[in-house]
Amino acid sequence: MNAAVIAGCVIMAVPFAWMLFGSLKPTSELYSVPPTFIPTVWRPENYAALLERVPFAQYVFNSFEIAILVVVGQLISCSLAAFAFARLRFKGRDVLFVLLLAAIMVPAQVLVIPQFVLFRQLGWLNTHLPLIVPGFFGGAFGIFLLRQYFMTIPQELDDAARLDGASALRIYWHICLPLSKPALAALAVFIFMGNWNDLLGPVIYLTDYAKMTLTVGLAYLQGQYVTDWSVVLAGGVVSVVPILLIFIIAQRHFVEGMVISGLRR
């Protein structure tokens, strides 16, 4: 058992180490037979080459901009909705909740064509708007995750505040949100990761190099510089580092989020 787990870890980790070391080799060494793992010639200039050949810093900025704005939008819109589903009573509430969750069943392929047509009519093609704006209108995953968490907050806290004359918005803002930091953090990590790593959206909507995100940028870099593989690998490393840092810092929240949303399904 122990050996199996360790072997599994090696299989998971070695390709990443290979990418890191590969990005620090000259390309010719990548093609050497037999292959080297640790570079015999170190070539950190590969990273400088990235900045010279493509607007790589711009890609990084664009990816951050889009992912952070969607996180903000999702935190606002999903927490508001989750509060209503966990705490308020109104006609049609449960039907609305089921409809929101049912939306998960619809494949992206069905939605993406009419959405493209819609954003085209709005004149939003080749802008970041189609990637950001929908984030401000809620999402089934976030609403579900936060609702599950809000349900665990004792109702007595609300009741006491209500007796003191607090409005629903005040209860949401002063009681529910401060007590839900772990769930909000988990959602933020999930949403950031999903958008940072997204490929389909940016591929469809973005055509100018200056507007691209890291994922599309890398996909094109791979097509363009097939001859200079170590530079492409350097791009890969740059794209992976932020998400790994966030994961290492927020690992606990990440797993909690999966448990909250998964266990009570």
């Binding site: 122990n2 998971m12 109104f90 006609k91 009419p114 629903a168 469809i204």
Partner: protein, 307 residues
């Protein structure tokens, strides 16, 4: 007496309505954004894409209504049969591996507590990384001449296949990468399920002389079967939608051997601007997903234990 009766009739008729209005007035600011989102980004697109699927439309002129022509064209298309076959191949290879391997990993990991969070973090590396970055690595691993995989095979005297360049091996290669990427995610889902099983069960089974394999088959699997069912469903759904891995590794080649339904929709819509045809394919994909999911919901009674 009669006045009281009238009043109570009135309250029965009117007060709930005004209460509904008051309750909605409170709830509206909270649910307005998701309701708009649901209508604009899900409801309208579902209806519109069904409508588009009945048209021929290349985005230039107005859509031209063609009835069920796109579906008829699909039914008679050899490419559709091939794409469907590719998708089923992916599903048949991917689903058992994505369901079983992570369970074994979780069982192994559940037993030692010492470095569990470190191990879990390592298994999560591919989960948090983009398919784009991962495909960069694996396209090199699979390089038939210089890739470490074939060089390692050559070292033990095996002449490795041409992987992504060979129509017979490209799909298995994509599946291997996908299982590698998803293993940690499914494993964490299983770990949550496993931790709900009281350890006394295992102690009793061990005392009764059950082997590790028997404990897995007769204790672990039935007790985590609801989790297994969940993993099975998400694996099936993701199989029908495969896009990123085939887009990055093969673009559907060689000889269309890795064009999956998810990739084909993208190609028809955004490379060839066949919006109507692409919408029809998307709907076939949707219906197949629903059919497979419903079939599994039916079959679950035979093997899933809900206590």
């Amino acid at each position: 007496m009669s006045r009281i009766a009238t009043r109570s009739l009135e309250t029965a008729g009117h007060r709930p309505a005004s209460r509904h209005i008051r309750e909605w007035a409170t709830a509206a600011p909270f649910v307005a954004l998701p309701i708009i989102g649901l209508v604009v980004f899900v409801g309208y697109p579902v209806v519109a894409s069904l409508g588009f699927s009945l048209t021929r439309w290349n985005l230039l002129g107005p859509p031209e209504f063609v009835g069920l022509d796109n579906y008829a064209k699909l039914a008679g298309s050899p490419m559709f049969l091939q794409v469907l076959g590719n998708t089923v191949t992916y599903l048949v290879l991917y689903v058992p591996l994505a369901v079983a391997l992570p369970l074994l990993l979780a069982v192994a990991l559940n037993q030692h507590l010492r470095f569990r969070s470190l191990y879990r973090a390592v298994f999560f590396l591919p989960v948090v990384t983009s398919t784009v970055a991962i495909a960069l690595i694996w396209s090199f691993i699979y390089n038939p001449d210089y890739g470490p995989l074939n060089q390692a095979l050559a070292a033990i005297g095996v002449d490795g296949p041409r992987w992504l360049a060979d129509p017979a091996w490209a799909m298995p290669a994509i599946v291997i990468m996908s299982v590698w990427k998803v293993a940690g995610y499914n494993m964490v889902i299983y770990l949550a399920g496993l931790q709900a099983i009281p350890s006394e069960y295992y102690e009793v089974a061990s005392l009764d002389g059950a082997s590790a394999l028997q404990r897995l088959r007769y204790l672990t699997v039935p007790l985590v079967s609801p989790t297994m069912f969940f993993v099975l469903i998400i694996s099936i759904i993701s199989s029908f939608q495969v896009f990123e891995s085939t887009y990055m590794l093969t673009q559907g080649g060689p000889l269309n051997s890795t064009t999956t339904l998810g990739l084909w929709v993208y190609q028809q819509a955004f490379r060839y601007s066949n919006m109507g045809y692409a919408s029809a394919i998307a709907w076939v994909l949707f219906l197949l997903t629903l059919a497979f999911t419903l079939m599994q919901l039916r079959l679950q009674r035979r093997w899933v234990n809900y206590e």
